[in-house]
Amino acid sequence: MVENTKCECGHNNPVGTILCEYCGKPLQQEVIEKSSIENEMRYEGAARRSQQSVMSLFDRVWAFFSSVKVAISLIVITLILSAVGTIFPQEEFVGAASKELFYQQEYGWWGATFYQLGLSKMYSQWWFASLIAMIGISLVICSLDRVVPLYKALKGQKVIKNIEFMKRQRIHVAVEVATDEEEAKLAELEQQLNNHRYHIQRDGKAILAEKGRFSRWGPYINHIGLIIFLFGILLRFIPGWNIDSFVNLIEGETKRVPQTEYYVKNEKTVAEYYRPEELPPAMKSGGGEVIKKYQTDAVLLKKVPGSNEMKEVTRHEIQVNDPLTYEGLNLLQSDFRPQQLRGIKLGITDKNTKQSKGQFTVVFHEISLHQVYQVGDLKVRMEEYYPDFAIENQRPITKSQEPNKPAFIFTIQKPDGKEEKSWVISGERLPDPEGNQYGIDLAGFDLANQTGLMVRAEKSLWVYLVGGIIFMIGVTMGSYWQHRRVWARVDDGVLYIGAHTNKNWFALRRELEMVGKPIGQVFGLVENEKE
C-alpha cells in the first residue's frame, strides 16, 4: 500500500515524513491528534531510512543499529561489564606464575569463576571487542540515519509555516492584532529578536528567527571523532603496529631494542632520595625512604650498514614521565635495581712466590671468547665461558645465559711464550692442574645499578589525538550552544508565535520573556503538555 504523502501545500514528501518538509504541517494521523509535536521536532519530522516500512535485510540491520535504544543498551552493557572486570585484578596486574592458581587461592570460588569465565582478561576478550565494534557501527548508522534528513530539512526550511505546526509547538502564543498594527508588531518583534542575536528571515507576514543552528551538528561531529578514535584502535591489529616490551640494562651495557633496528646503551643509572628535611614529620617517622628521582642516561644507537660499528642516533636522560622519544619509539623508566652483579674481579697469584701478579675484571655482558686481559706481564685469554655452569654426562654445560654460576677456562700466557690452562668456577675451588705456576682466584665483585626500560611504540597515537580533538570540538558545539527558533506569522488578524529549542526550554522561555517585555506585549506563552 502506498501512503499518500502529498501535503496540502502541494509539496511531495518522502514516505515516512512526519511533518511536511515544506510547511511543517503534521502529516501522520497520530501526530495530528497530538497537542504537542516536541518529540517529532527532533529531526524536523523528516523521513529517516530506519523508519521506512519496506524492509530488506540491509534495512533491518540498519534499523537495528540506528535505534538510540540499542545504542544505550550497548553502552550500558559495556559499562556494566567494565565494572565487573574490576572486582578482582586483571591478569596483567597479577605477578603470580600461575594465574589460575592465584585467583583460586586469593579469592576462592569467586576468583576461580572469575578466571574461568575469562573475566580476568576482560578487556582483550573477543566479545568485549565486539561490543566496542557494535558501538562503533551504531555510531556510524545512528549518525547517518539522522544527520542527512536533518541537514536537508534545516537547509530547506521555509519561513512561512503551517498554523497547525506553530500551534503544536511546546511554546506558542496567539494574539489578535488589528490590521493596521500588524506590520508594526512584526517589525518590533523582529527588532527585539535581532537584539538577542537571532538571525531573522522575513517572508511576507511571517518571520523565522533562528540562532545556534551549528550546535545541531555537534553530536554528529563528536561521533565522527569517536569513529576516528575507534579506527585507531582497529589499526592496532596490524602486526608490528605497536611495540610493547621491556629491556633490562646494567650500567655500561648495550642491548638491542626489541623489535627494532636500534640498540640502547645505559651509560649511567641513579636513584635519588628525598633528604630528611624535605619530608613532613609523618613521613619521616615511617622510616622508609621516599624516592625523588630515577634516572638513566641512555644512548640510542644504530648499526652502520655493512659493518659492526655503532652510530649514535640520539641520547636522553630518561626519567619517569620523561621518556627517550625517537620517531615514535619510546623508552620509559620503569624499573631500578641497585648494586647488581655486573662482573667479577679475579686475582692471579704466583704459587711459588705467593706473590700477587695483579687483578682483572670480567664484565659478563662484555665477554667475548678469546678475549685477552693483560695482567702485569701475563696475557690471560678466555677459552670457555659457562654463565650458568653445570655438569651433565660428565661434560660441562650451561643451564642458561644468565650469569648465575659463571665458570671459565682461561689460558695464561707467560712472558716466555709458554701457556698453562686454568679453570675458574664460582663457588667452587678446583685444584689447579699439576705444574701450573699461577692460580686464579676470586678477588671481588663488580657491582652496578641496573635499569629497566619499557619499550613502547604506538603508531595510532596521532589517530587518537585527531579523534579526540574532533570529539571535543563536536561535544563543545553541542553542549554549550543550543538551536533556538521562533516562528511568527500573522494570519487572519491573529499573530501566531511558536518557539522551539533542542534543549534547555527554561532558558528559552526566559529569553522570550525578555523579548516580549519592551514590546509591551507580555507573551502569555502557553505551554503544551508534554507527552
Binding site: 518529540n39 527532533r42 538510540v68 535504544k69 544505550i72 553502552i75 550500558v76 559495556t78 559499562l79 567494565s82 565494572a83 572486570g85 574490576t86 585484578p89 586483571q90 596483567e92 596486574f93 579469592y107 576482560m122 578487556y123 610493547d244 624535605e278 619530608l279 613532613p280 614529620p281 609523618a282 613521613m283 621516599v290 624516592i291 625523588k292 628521582k293 630515577y294 626519567q319 619517569v320 614521565n321 620523561d322 621518556p323 619510546n330 620509559l332 623508566q333 620503569s334 619499557m454 619499550v455 613502547r456 604506538e458 597515537l461 587518537y464 579526540g468 570529539f471 571535543m472 561535544v475 563543545t476 553542549s479 554549550y480 534543549k503 534547555n504 526550554w505 527554561f506 532558558a507 507527552e531
Partner: protein
C-alpha cells in the same frame, strides 16, 4: 606560611558553612506566602558568602602551590578538598544561569561535608614520587575534578528534585532509597566528626601482622573495632572501656592498610546510624519529610533542567580531563595511552554512564524523576572511583 595556609583553609570551611546556613534560613521561610523577597535577600547573602569562600579556597590552593611546588591534587586530602572547590565553583556557574536559591541550600551543606571529609586524611605537604612529577598530571586531575564538580551539582539538583517528588511519600521504595542517600551523607559527616575528635585527642592503636611474608605494622587513628587478620596488638589506647578490638577482620582484608580502612568504614556506619537514630528520636519523621517543606514551592521543570544542564556543561570538561588529558599523561608516564587499570576503567565507566544519560534524555520518559535518580547514581559512581578504588582496591592489591 604553613599556618597562614591552615587559616585560609579554616576560613574557607567556615564561609561555606555560613553560606549553607544563610541559604537554609532563607529557603526555610519560603513556604509562607509573600516571602519570595526574603528568600531572595538571604539567598543573595548566601551566594556572596559562597563566592568569598571560593576566593579564599583559591588563596589556599595558591599558598599550597608555593609551599610544595606542585598543584595540590596529589593525595586524598588535596584531591577531595579540590573536588569540594569544584562543586562550589560549579554551583556558582549554574547559579548565575538559573538563579536557584534552593540549590544553594543543598549544595553548600554537601560542600561542607566534603571539605570536612577531606581533612580526615593527612594534610601534610608531601613530596612527590617520580610517577606524579608531571604537569600533565595536574592538568588532567584538575580538569577532571571540575567536570566532576558539575556532576556533583547535578547530583544535588537531582536530590532537591527527589525531595520534592518523593520526600513526602509514605512507604514507597523511592522514599526509602532517598532516605538511604541521606544516611550515607550523614555517615560521611559523622565519620569526619569522629575522626577529628580522635585526631585531636591523639588516639593511637598499633597492630602487627604478617602480609606476603613480611611483618607489617598497622596504625589506627580510631579505636579498633576490628583488628587485622591474624595480628598481635602492639599497643591500644583505651576508649570508653574498649581496650581490645571487638573482632578480627576476615582474610580478604589482609592487605597493607586494609584492616584499618575497614575499621574506618565500620566507624562511619556505626556513628552515622547513631546520629540518625538520635535525629529520628527527636524529629520522629524521615529526613525526606523534614526537608520536603523547604522545596515545596519548587519549580520542578527548572530543577530538572538544572540536573540536565549541569551534566551537559560538565560532560565536555570531564571528557577532556578524565579521558583525553589522562591518556596524554598515561602515555608519558607508562608509554601507553590506556591500560585498563581500575582507576582508568572507572573513569571510562563514569564517562559511559553520562553518555548513556545524555542519550536517554533524547527519549521519552527519561526526564524528571528518572533523570534525577540517574544524576544521583552518576555521582555515586564518581565516589566509588574516588573512595573504593583508591582506598580499597589499591589497598588490597598494591600494584598502584
Amino acid at each position: 606560611m604553613k599556618t597562614t595556609m591552615e587559616y585560609f583553609l579554616f576560613a574557607t570551611f567556615f564561609l561555606y558553612l555560613f553560606s549553607a546556613v544563610v541559604f537554609l534560613v532563607g529557603v526555610s521561610g519560603a513556604k509562607k506566602k509573600g516571602n519570595a523577597e526574603r528568600v531572595k535577600k538571604w539567598g543573595k547573602a548566601g551566594i556572596i558568602l559562597a563566592i568569598i569562600g571560593v576566593t579564599l579556597h583559591v588563596a589556599f590552593i595558591i599558598i599550597r602551590i608555593m609551599l610544595s611546588g606542585h598543584f595540590p591534587t596529589s593525595n586524598m586530602f588535596e584531591f577531595i578538598a579540590f573536588l569540594c572547590f569544584a562543586v562550589v565553583l560549579g554551583f556558582i556557574i549554574v547559579f548565575f544561569i538559573y538563579r536557584s536559591f534552593v540549590l544553594g541550600a543543598f549544595v553548600m551543606p554537601i560542600a561542607v561535608i566534603l571539605l570536612s571529609y577531606a581533612t580526615v586524611f593527612p594534610r601534610d605537604v608531601q613530596p612527590l614520587i617520580p610517577a606524579l612529577q608531571s604537569s600533565w598530571l595536574y592538568i588532567h586531575v584538575t580538569t577532571a575534578a571540575i567536570g566532576q564538580g558539575l556532576f556533583g551539582v547535578s547530583f544535588v539538583a537531582g536530590l532537591v528534585y527527589l525531595i520534592h517528588k518523593v520526600g513526602n511519600r509514605d512507604k514507597s521504595k523511592s522514599a526509602i532509597s532517598l532516605e538511604l542517600i541521606f544516611l550515607v551523607l550523614i555517615m560521611f559527616g559523622s565519620f569526619s566528626i569522629v575522626s577529628t575528635i580522635f585526631q585531636m585527642t591523639g588516639y593511637q592503636a598499633t597492630f602487627k601482622h604478617v602480609y606476603k611474608g613480611a611483618e607489617v605494622v598497622q596504625e589506627y587513628k580510631l579505636p579498633a573495632i576490628v583488628s587485622p587478620y591474624e595480628s598481635k596488638t602492639v599497643k591500644m589506647d583505651s576508649f570508653a572501656g574498649m581496650s581490645k578490638p571487638l573482632f578480627e577482620s576476615p582474610k580478604v582484608f589482609q592487605g597493607e592498610k586494609a584492616a584499618s580502612k575497614l575499621n574506618s568504614v565500620l566507624w562511619s556506619i556505626v556513628s552515622g546510624l547513631i546520629i540518625y537514630a538520635i535525629y529520628f528520636a527527636i524529629a520522629r519523621k524521615r529526613l525526606g519529610k523534614l526537608l520536603h517543606p523547604l522545596v515545596q514551592k519548587l519549580n520542578l521543570e527548572l530543577m530538572d533542567e538544572i540536573v540536565y544542564r549541569s551534566i551537559v556543561i560538565g560532560y565536555p570538561i570531564f571528557t577532556l580531563g578524565a579521558l583525553i588529558f589522562a591518556m596524554i599523561w598515561a602515555n608519558q608516564a607508562w608509554g601507553r595511552p590506556w591500560g585498563w587499570d581500575p582507576k582508568e576503567t572507572w573513569a571510562f565507566i563514569t564517562w559511559m554512564f553520562y553518555s548513556a544519560y545524555l542519550h536517554l534524555r533524547l527519549s521519552r520518559g527519561w526526564h524528571g524523576e528518572k533523570s534525577a535518580w540517574l544524576a544521583v547514581v552518576g555521582f555515586a559512581i564518581i565516589l566509588i572511583n574516588l573512595i573504593v578504588i583508591n582506598l580499597v582496591i589499591s589497598g588490597l592489591h598494591s600494584y598502584t
